[in-house]
């Protein structure tokens, strides 16, 4: 009875649409994420302050009050992660957001989400590392976000490059999470978090996107042990064989999900002799560099993994094999490259690293690097 009543209330709560029609805005990325979560019918955010993610909470708290959504500021990121699991267990579209040291603390709960297949959504606005480092920008949270914790990386990580993508992929994250029941991460960065650029926001319904319905893990209809079996979930096992079976099961499920979620973009890769690999905001510089070289009639292409986990290695392999050289541009010391090279094991195309840990990468710098590669080949 109570459940039903609440469901009805919930329905009413979401009757008021936060975004009507298309809404053009000039906003910060953090603001865009908060709007996206709102438009995606997210029920509750759990969070803890850390730069450069704070404004996601700032905007969410201002709007959630108006639209009847929940927010809890916890005592630390460990708690923010675990309360997010609690929200998911209760069957609510729950999310959190963090960065750097906070991301480290949240990996504990994300491991539990992997083990129990809880559809958490987490936004990461990468800052410099290791340690406290800078609050500005980096691409140094790739390892942590893709493989953090003591598990096998059963998760889906989208690396976005613009405010439009932050909006689109935040909405998408909830649907992918609740469809496949693996934790989903939207991997942004401090630049995307803090900068302002134009974005078009919308109600997913108007775009034909249906929000995947949620359902509770605990307290489903009826009385546990009377009307139905109790829902009891654990992440601890007694024997090697028992655990192995569980992990193999998770892996089989994850492998089945990969083809449905793996995503990449190609820019003039068909005939490219030189292929620039970059993800996140660095793709923008790489795309501009390709445009520059193609105008000059030079065969330069760009491969952009959109999902870093799973990595689109299958799509990249033929491109890597036919290229003369590959340039890997990253605002980290090869965190993405390590994932990439693993997926194209055996490819003999030489790779050149352009790593700037904790610092932005410009179009000009990429152009110079590619020109150097070309000069060597002459």
């Amino acid at each position: 009875m109570k459940d039903l009543k609440e469901k009805n209330e919930t329905k009413d709560k979401y009757a008021v649409r936060p975004i009507v029609g298309e809404k053009r805005a000039f906003a910060t990325g953090n603001e865009v994420v908060a709007w996206a979560a709102l438009a995606a019918d997210a029920d509750i955010m759990y969070g803890y302050p850390i730069t450069p993610q704070n404004e996601i909470m700032h905007y969410w708290t201002r709007m959630s009050e108006k639209y009847g959504r929940g927010f809890l500021q916890t005592e630390d990121e460990t708690s923010a992660g675990f309360t997010t699991l609690g929200g998911v267990l209760a069957g609510r579209r729950s999310f959190t957001a963090t960065s750097g040291p906070g991301n480290m603390l949240m990996q504990e709960s994300m491991c539990m989400a992997e083990m129990m297949r809880l559809p958490t959504v987490m936004i990461v606005q990468q800052r410099g590392g290791p340690s406290t480092a800078t609050v500005i920008y980096s691409q140094q949270e790739v390892n942590l976000t893709c493989f953090g914790g003591n598990g096998e990386g059963f998760r889906i990580v989208y690396s976005t490059c613009s405010h439009q993508e932050l909006f689109d992929y935040t909405i998408n994250a909830f649907n992918v999470a609740w469809t496949h029941r693996f934790p989903v991460f939207v991997l942004g960065d401090g630049y995307q978090a803090k900068m302002r650029e134009p974005v078009t926001m919308y109600d997913p319904r108007d775009k034909g996107i249906t929000m995947v319905p949620t359902e509770p893990y605990v307290l489903k209809e009826g009385c546990a042990g009377v009307d139905r079996e109790p829902q009891q979930m654990r992440n601890t096992y007694n024997t090697e064989e028992e655990l192995n079976e569980v992990v193999e099961g998770l892996n089989a499920a994850y492998q089945a999900v990969i083809p449905q979620v793996v995503k990449h973009e190609e820019y003039a890769c068909e005939d490219a002799d030189y292929v620039i690999v970059a993800h996140g905001v660095v793709t923008r510089a790489a795309q501009a560099a390709v445009e520059y070289f193609r105008e000059k009639g030079l065969k330069v292409g760009h491969f952009r993994p959109v999902t870093l986990r799973p990595f689109p290695g299958e799509a990249f392999r033929p491109i890597a094999d036919r290229a003369k050289k590959i340039l890997v541009a990253e605002s980290a010391l090869g965190q993405m490259r390590r994932i990439m090279t693993d997926t194209i094991y055996g490819c003999s195309t030489p790779m050149v690293n352009f790593f700037k840990p904790g610092e932005g990468i410009s179009t000009e710098e990429i152009i110079v690097k590619v020109e150097e590669m070309m000069a060597e080949d002459k």
């Binding site: 109570k2 459940d3 609440e6 029920d43 509750i44 759990y46 929940g70 809890l72 916890t74 005592e75 630390d76 460990t78 708690s79 992660g81 675990f82 309360t83 997010t84 699991l85 609690g86 929200g87 998911v88 267990l89 209760a90 069957g91 609510r92 729950s94 504990e108 709960s109 539990m112 129990m116 509770p216 893990y217 605990v218 307290l219 489903k220 009826g222 009385c223 546990a224 042990g225 009377v226 109790p230 829902q231 009891q232 979930m233 654990r234 992440n235 601890t236």
Partner: protein, 254 residues
């Protein structure tokens, strides 16, 4: 001739799950008694359909499938935030975080302190057996002065390790309006059941945070026989840890 036995069904709480009995605790362990008191309290309040039983890590996790209620087994120290997350997302649920002294007073202390300070409408039930039992009997925040454990083999000293944590006293000191805080013992089952029931009632009323510490036995790690076990519980622990109610919801109203 076939011999007939008269079988007396053990009187288990209705909210216990028969299929998973007998439970997995060592002989003489206090957990079974605490959980019996909890089961009776759930039965008497008739709230089996609303319970989310959240276990911490430690011997308490062995209770993950003990009840005929929904439940989640979490990480060490993290039962409180998981219960908090469920409760915040579904206020109709009755969330019980079940943990040991290590989970509550050491690795999860920040969660306990802040959930108390925020007056989260959840119930924390904590077994105090003065050691980390599942990992083989190390020193806990609650280990008594002079008590030997694997990590204080010559006995806990005030100088080196400080005084044993008095959890309910600490929680009561920061608990807000409408909260309930008590300490019971498995040697006083009626009192313990009453305290747990009041704690759950506090959550049902939505007046505030509720916390019950239960003094519990651990003969395996204490290396005590039945008599010594009871002696240690009642005399040694009883002398340092006062049982009773430290905060009641109605007190604040006056």
């Amino acid at each position: 001739m076939k011999k007939e036995y008269i079988v007396d069904t053990p009187r288990m709480p209705v909210s216990w799950r028969e299929e998973t009995k007998a439970h997995k605790f060592c002989p003489g362990c206090g957990h079974g008694l605490i959980l019996k008191a909890l089961g009776q309290a759930i039965d008497e309040l008739g709230i089996q359909d609303r319970i989310v039983f959240v276990c911490d890590i430690g011997c308490c996790l062995l209770a993950w499938d003990l009840f005929n209620t929904d439940g989640v087994q979490t990480h060490h120290g993290r039962a409180v935030p998981v219960a908090t997350g469920v409760k915040r997302a579904n206020p109709d649920s009755i969330c019980i975080a079940y943990m040991g002294d290590g989970g509550g007073y050491a690795i999860g202390a920040q969660h306990l302190v802040n959930a108390t300070a925020r007056n989260e409408r959840i119930t924390v039930l904590l077994a105090n057996n003065t050691n980390y039992a599942m990992t083989g009997g190390q020193m806990a925040p609650t280990t008594l002065i002079g008590q030997k454990t694997e990590t204080c083999p010559y006995g806990r000293s005030i100088e080196q390790h400080g005084e044993p944590t008095r959890g309910p006293e600490m929680v009561a000191a920061i608990a807000g309006h409408g909260a309930y805080v008590a300490r019971g013992t498995v040697s006083q089952m009626n009192q313990l059941k009453k305290q747990i029931k009041t704690a759950l009632q506090t959550q049902l009323d939505g007046s505030g945070f509720s916390f019950v510490e239960a003094l519990a036995t651990c003969p395996t790690n204490w290396r005590t026989n039945a008599h010594e076990t009871w002696q240690f519980l009642n005399n040694n622990m009883g002398a340092y840890f006062q049982t009773g109610e430290f905060k009641k919801p109605e007190e604040q109203e006056v």
